[in-house]
């Protein structure tokens, strides 16, 4: 196991190095640079050129890369061209809303998604199964921003139960923090609930049709014991894989939700940075996100061993 983890960490470093080179080149291949944006629409070419020189953008790419990579190895992601603050500080500032939204979304998606999946598998072919299948299709098909607008209209504008937008940090009170996250969490979760429910249902149906399940039923095992002790545990590996993938996708998926509900998270930070060509922020966020993907994949692989004792590394 230790050797496996060590090997995975080594390969992660290689992956991250390749990602670093790729990201650095990618942002510079895009036309335009921060100097154009800083100078503004009505600026003259000379003003733009002066700012470009001031920012060091005229230096050869290898020189710029060496400087960035050297700082990165020392844990320094650089300074934002626009905000004039360390990139790490800017990301930290935006991390709380994104993590809060992601965790709440995963909690809601996993609990409801798995419950729906089990229920649909247990009552397969019945009314509940059909209703849940229809719900899954709907949740999977409707874009998150449309769901967001509906929720805002009914629960914020018409009913005045919840705020339309914004975010309150957790140190501003657990109540306001939670209240501001209810609508975005529900909007973002629906798609994931549908996804997890469908996979859980399919996986459970496959297990429920196994011989040993018939044997358990013949021996008089209760429905509860069959579903949760025998079936769910054996159906767990694909469900866990889907949860892992969902969490990884969630990191990219929160951008739209953050935009619709005006949550100042990492997603919006990177979108603004791309629009402004704020290279250090784009590079910093992508490097950290890539690292997170690698870690999530590793964590999911290791979690398999807890569910299925046959899996060994």
């Amino acid at each position: 196991m230790v050797t496996y983890i060590f090997r995975r960490m080594i390969s992660a470093i290689v992956v991250m190095a390749m990602v670093g080179v790729f990201i650095f080149l990618l942002v510079r291949l895009a036309p335009g640079d921060p100097a154009d944006i800083i100078a503004g629409r009505a600026a003259t070419d000379q003003t733009v050129a002066d700012i470009r020189e001031q920012l060091g953008l005229n230096a050869p790419l290898p020189v710029q890369f060496r400087q960035w990579a050297g700082n990165l190895l020392n844990g320094d992601l650089g300074m934002s061209v626009f905000a004039g603050r360390p990139v790490l500080q800017l990301i930290s500032q935006r991390l709380e809303p994104t993590i809060s939204l992601s965790i709440l979304t995963m909690i809601l998606s996993v609990t409801v998604g798995i419950s729906f999946g089990i229920l649909a598998a247990w009552r397969t072919g019945g009314l509940v199964d059909r209703l849940l299948t229809a719900f899954s299709a709907l949740g999977y098909s409707v874009p998150v921003f449309v769901i967001g607008y509906f929720l805002i209209y009914f629960f914020a504008i018409r009913a005045h139960w919840l705020p339309v937008q914004g975010y309150t940090p957790i140190d501003g009170g657990l109540g306001p923090w939670f209240v501001h996250l209810i609508l975005p969490t529900v909007a973002l979760s629906l798609g994931y609930i549908a996804f997890i429910a469908r996979v859980t249902r399919a996986s459970m149906l496959e297990v429920l049709s196994e011989d040993y399940m018939r044997t358990a039923a013949a021996k008089g095992a209760s429905s509860h014991a069959m579903l949760f002790h025998h079936a769910l545990k054996n159906a767990g590996v694909p469900i866990l894989t889907v949860i892992g993938i969902s969490f990884a996708y969630l990191i990219g998926g929160v951008v739209i939700t953050e935009t619709v509900f005006n949550i100042p998270g990492v997603g919006r930070l990177v979108v603004d940075a791309i629009n402004n060509r704020d290279y250090p922020i784009i590079q910093g966020v992508l490097i950290l996100t890539s690292g997170l993907y690698v870690l999530i994949n590793l964590a999911v692989d290791l979690a398999y061993t807890l569910i299925d004792p046959r899996i060994r590394y």
């Binding site: 154009d36 009505a42 003259t44």
Partner: protein, 497 residues
């Protein structure tokens, strides 16, 4: 008080022309002069000023009790350093060229000595269209304009709250209790600047529907820019007001590349002016049609210098037959015409698509080059042929008010490759433009404006697509909002009941 609006990304009004930065600077910094609602410069930070008989020496005295947000007094040395920094920007270029010296007399007085009289000196010190002259602390003003100031310490009625700043999401201003307003009544940028609310938050709500919903729910008080498709929603809500607070509005225009085929030929450019039907473009840019106007004067629709010289031939527009004939006379042989299309700017993108279809009707071989605005800005600076990454046309907009100053509006220059993109060149026009700084009196400027416009439209480097108002929405319990002819929405004087 919460405003939903665009946010500055750079906080130095000498580094950028971005209007969000200038709006921020109006709250945090102060100016020597302020334009009143009739666009006449009035002393703001100044107690008095005077000019020598030969109009070559101007002496300025600061008001009492002016202070920076760190509590230190504003001195003449700060003003001198700020003016010298401003000289390094295109906004201060004209005054810089005419100035022999700027120097401090005592702690509260300073002098500008000119090489020769400059009729528009006070207007230039008060102008707010491009790189306005804001006063900064001497240590900040010593930096070159390309090295942006990040300290946020001004002497205006509002302080920047560093702790609550979330870059890209919100900025917070607190009332500066040490600010001493003038005694006279508020009048545009002139008169008393009295902060009547303790705190103003500017929040960036990137989704217009959400911003609208937040305004309806009372979570924001002002929606500074309202997309046209939301006008009916606002008008049907009894708690909201839709008003033209940014009184200037925007003039949409297309700019042609005068260095490359086919628009290096004046007849091809004039063909485009014959073709443009502004009503059709306006229905694409602002489908609500509320407040739309045609604009034919180089000097815009609402400025004192707007006139009708040399506009009859293209005023009506929408004449594809005449356009085709001129294209033929220009010897057009099917060269590719590249329109730079900004897909992240809805109005510009829609207008670009419509322009492409219009140009195809007269036989031009049109190709749309779609990109975001940042990439467009990079590409429009290229003077190469379209085959080598150049361009033929792009669409942009500018505040109508900015067309009052041919000296500083890059769009109005015709100084060839030294000037703004498109690079039109006419020496006779440039002689007239240089005169603008020397003539005095509105009538003299109006006469000069007609002469300049005659040449500008003969050359036809650009074509207007129409004038669109910039409407704002706010909740009815807000009073005292000051919008300016100069296209600004100010934070002082407003109150919330």
């Amino acid at each position: 008080m919460r405003w939903a609006r665009g946010l500055p990304t750079i906080f130095d009004p000498y580094t950028t022309t971005d209007s969000n930065t200038v709006d921020y600077a109006f709250g945090v910094y102060d100016m020597l002069f302020g334009l009143d609602s009739k666009l006449v410069p009035q002393p703001q930070m100044l107690d008095s000023w005077s000019a020598s008989d030969d109009k070559k020496t101007y002496t300025f005295s600061l008001r009492d009790r002016l202070s920076w947000h760190d509590g230190t007094p504003v001195t003449a040395a700060d003003c001198v350093a700020s003016i010298r920094r401003w000289f390094q920007t295109p906004g201060g270029q004209l005054v810089n060229e005419r100035t022999k010296d700027v120097s401090k007399v005592d702690e509260k007085s300073f002098v500008i000595t000119l090489k020769k009289p400059l009729g528009v000196l006070i207007d230039q010190l008060a102008q707010v269209d491009v790189y306005p002259l804001f006063m900064m602390r001497e240590q900040d003003a010593r930096r070159p304009p390309t090295d942006a100031v990040t300290t946020h310490i001004g002497s205006g009625p509002f302080k920047f709250n560093e702790e609550l700043y979330v870059p890209g999401a919100s900025i917070t201003f607190d009332k500066y209790d040490g600010y001493v307003p003038r005694d006279d009544a508020p009048d545009g940028l002139a008169g008393a600047k009295i902060a009547r609310v303790r705190r103003v938050v500017w929040a960036k709500l990137p989704d217009p529907q959400t911003a609208m919903a937040a305004l309806q729910a009372g979570e924001v008080d002002v929606l500074v820019e309202v997309p046209a498709d939301l006008f009916p929603v606002i008008e049907s809500d009894p708690n909201l007001v839709l008003e033209n607070l940014y009184k200037s509005g925007f003039d949409y225009f297309l700019r042609m590349n005068c260095l490359q085929k086919p628009f290096d030929n004046v007849k091809a450019r004039q063909a485009v002016l014959h073709l443009i039907n502004q009503d059709a473009f306006l229905s694409v840019i602002n489908p609500s049609l509320k407040g739309n106007r045609n604009v034919t004067s180089l000097f815009g629709v609402n400025t004192p210098f707007s006139n009708d010289a040399n506009t009859n031939w293209f005023r009506k527009g929408g004449d594809p037959e005449k356009a085709k004939q001129l294209l033929q006379e220009a010897g057009y042989t099917g060269e590719k015409v590249v329109i730079l299309d900004p897909t992240d700017w809805t109005e510009g993108h829609n207008a670009s698509l419509f322009l492409a279809s219009e140009l195809r009707k007269i036989g031009l071989n049109v190709e749309l080059a779609s990109s975001d605005w940042a990439a467009l800005v990079a590409r429009r600076a290229r003077k190469d042929s379209v085959e080598n990454g150049g361009w033929s046309i792009f669409i942009s907009s500018l505040p109508d008010f900015s067309l009052t100053s041919p000296n500083s509006a890059a769009f109005m220059a015709m100084n060839g490759e030294q000037g703004w993109v498109g690079w039109p060149q006419d020496d006779q026009y440039e002689v007239l433009r240089a005169k603008w700084a020397d003539v005095t009196g509105i009538e003299a400027h109006r006469a000069l404006a007609r002469e300049m416009q005659q040449i500008f439209w003969d050359y036809a480097s650009s074509a207007y697509l129409g004038h669109v108002p910039a409407l704002s929405a706010y909740r009815k319990n807000l009073t005292g909002l000051i919008g300016l002819q100069a296209g600004r929405l100010l934070m002082w004087n407003m109150r919330k009941d």
